[in-house]
């Protein structure tokens, strides 16, 4: 759209002036409003969070706030000291976590309001400071004092079996060891071992007894003896130890769970090996080698070996009856019996071994065969050959004698 400035020339200058006057008015009104809001801002309450270690201070105007100690992590109690230059305020107060605490009437009344918003550990906590802005900007001053070592007990608990595999009936020794690896004394130590497991019968030492107090670096252990009662894979639960530090803070720790295997009851298993002897010639002596090996998992005891020969006459055996007190598992008892044949034939030697396999008396048998041959005349053929050789040599000699 096109304006016709020629027609409207006189009226445009008056409009312009009016517009300028309007702008100036608006500016003046705005400036007045701005002055009034500044006055209101200085009374406005603001806040700021600080992370403080013990000994750290916050300075705000005349106020000075210092973190004295973390009194109780568990209860959320932090001790804070608030003072004011001039001595009008000097107060040390235990502040509860997340509970605002007013000093000098609180921020609403020109004082300060302090809230513990978080307790990191026994050395530090987060503090929220609320104040009027007119008090200025709070400044944090770190403590020049070295941080005191906190007294913090740390108990490690360990539960162990003296072997991971056992047989039903085996005794097993369980050791529970508590070690204080922390820096403070652990008090009110209480070990909670899982109630007796059904796979075991408890013989002695249960429940385990551990000292109630363990200084830093100290350890204590308790041993109890179980008897494996039922085969299978057994998950051994963790042992829980609970304790308290010097500030009565309760703590607990537990051992790692693990599993053990209980195998069926171990028994001795004797295997008898009677070697077949080489064929014997009449009245020749030979050896019968016998080996009784224990291929079971328990010792065999009271072993009695007795032998008998069938047919009963014609083969003489000496040293076949033997007794042994014990053959440990994996071990073997070897012995030899001398045999001599007086009548040709095939003989059966039956060896009976009775023993106690740990669960009762057991009998094992083994048989061997002995062959007694007719007397062999090894060089009988020489009776023919030698005379032939002699006669041949003689004839040849005589032939040479007469050969011309």
């Amino acid at each position: 759209m096109m304006y016709n400035y020629g027609v409207l020339g006189m009226k445009a200058s008056s409009y312009r002036l009016g517009l300028i006057c309007l702008l100036l008015y608006v500016l003046l009104i705005g400036a007045a409003c701005a002055a009034k809001s500044d006055e209101e801002d200085e009374d406005e309450i603001t806040f700021r969070d600080f992370s403080l270690n013990i000994g750290d201070r916050i300075n705000l105007d005349d106020y000075q706030m210092e973190l004295i100690e973390i009194q109780s992590l568990r209860d959320g109690l932090v001790v804070l000291r608030v003072s004011r230059v001039g001595g009008s305020l000097d107060e040390q107060r235990a502040l509860l976590l997340d509970s605002p605490n007013n000093f000098d009437g609180g921020a609403e009344k020109g004082g300060v309001t302090i809230t513990i918003t978080d307790i990191f550990d026994e050395q530090s906590a987060r503090v929220r400071l609320e104040y009027e802005q007119k008090l200025g900007t709070p400044r944090k001053r770190a403590s020049d004092r070295p941080a005191a070592m906190p007294e913090k007990p740390e108990l490690l608990v360990q539960k162990s079996f003296d072997r991971n595999e056992m047989h039903v009936g085996d005794e097993v020794k369980v050791t529970i060891t508590i070690r204080n690896t922390g820096t403070g004394t652990a008090n009110d130590i209480d070990v909670q071992d899982i109630p007796p497991l059904p796979e075991f019968t408890y013989i002695a030492g249960y429940p385990p007894k551990i000292k109630e107090t363990l200084d830093s670096g100290q350890s204590d252990s308790a041993v109890y003896i179980l008897n494996a009662a039922r085969e299978g894979s057994v998950q051994i639960p963790a042992v829980v130890v609970s304790y308290a530090d010097s500030k009565k803070n309760s703590k607990s720790n537990s051992s790692e769970p693990f599993s053990i295997i209980i195998r069926p009851k171990s028994k001795a298993d004797l295997v008898i090996n009677v070697e077949d002897t080489a064929p014997l010639v009449l009245d020749e002596e030979g050896l019968l080698n016998i080996s009784i090996s224990n291929q079971g998992s328990a010792s065999a005891t009271r072993i009695e070996a007795t032998g008998e020969v069938s047919p009963s006459d014609g083969l003489e055996i000496k040293g076949l009856d033997k007794s042994f007190f014990e053959i440990p598992p994996g071990d073997a008892a070897n012995f030899s019996a001398s045999i001599s044949g007086h009548k040709r034939g095939i003989y059966t030697i039956r060896l009976k071994v009775s023993y106690d396999d740990g669960d009762g008396s057991v009998i094992r048998e083994a048989t061997s065969r002995a062959v007694v041959l007719k007397r062999e005349y090894k060089y009988q053929y020489l009776l023919v050959i030698i005379p032939i050789i002699i006669v041949s040599a003689w004839i040849y000699r005589r032939h040479r004698e007469y050969k011309y």
Partner: protein, 369 residues
Amino acid sequence: MLNVLMLGVGQCGNRILDAMNKEAFGGGGASKLAKYYLRPKFPSRVETLAINTAVNDLKELRFTTAKDRLHVPNLHGVGANRNVGKQAFMENRDMIMGEIEKRGDFDIAFVITSTSGGTGSSFSPLLINELKRQYKDIAVITVAILPFREEGSIYLQNAAFSMRELMEVDAEGIILADNQYMKRFSGDIASAYDKINNMIAQRLLFLIESLDSEMLSVTDLGDFKTVMNGGLRIGTMGFYQADSKNLSIRDAIENSLKPGNLLYPANVADDAARAMIIIQGSREHLDVDEITKAVERLSASAGHVFKGIVVKKGRPKILSVFTLASAPELEGIYAQAARAMQDEKEKRTRARKQLDDAFAHIEDLEEIY
């Protein structure tokens, strides 16, 4: 114990020696294989040696050990030529005598030879001379075998000259055996030879055994030498073994002197000069009276008779050895030999003349080419 040397010279001598060795294994009953399992069993210490120029003749021997066969190297024999034989002996005399010397000293030596062959007839006289020269006290007896008359003029000639030389040497005597006479024992010549050889061997061994035995009535080597020195120093042997039907010792003695049991044809009653009768048998057969009567009867014709009695289990065996005062059969041989030599000479002269006449046809002619 007598030490006896038996020398078989030439093919005939070798074979008789081999027969003696066979006899030593057990006589005619001995198997051909006896030598492989037996030792020769001579009655005395007897050493045998077969000497020949023909190696093939030596190879034919079966019972003589190789070491007792002496080959005198002269190609293959002397071809019945006594002159060649003599030359061969002289050339090998030391070797021959060395071989004999190796066998030790001897009391008596028997030189067994054919009179007609080449090697035996030529070697024997020379060998006897050497034995006599080398062994001072040795008694050498020649056992000379006369040939079949039909064997040829050379053999007769050899026999004639050989006998003469054997008579001339200083031997104790000659025991003659005549093949012609003994041929009657067998139909064929080959078996006759074997029988003659065995017969001579058997008698010689009987003689040796008797001379070396303890006798009931003693004869010994000295008696034997005396017998052999009697008459012409040519003798022969008779032998008889009583059969089970007639065990009379007297008959046995008389039978041993019968022509049929002699080695050379002789009439003992007429021709015997000295004799030796050796009687062997079981004591029950040896009737001394009978023996004495038989010997006395012989003594009446033969001059002196030595008798020896050997008690040995068995039927009576008689060996009679006697020398001859005359040998008419020898004369016959010489006459036959002379005729044969004359005939040979005439034949040769005739042939020479015929040849000369033939050559006369070309006497004045020259070869023309």
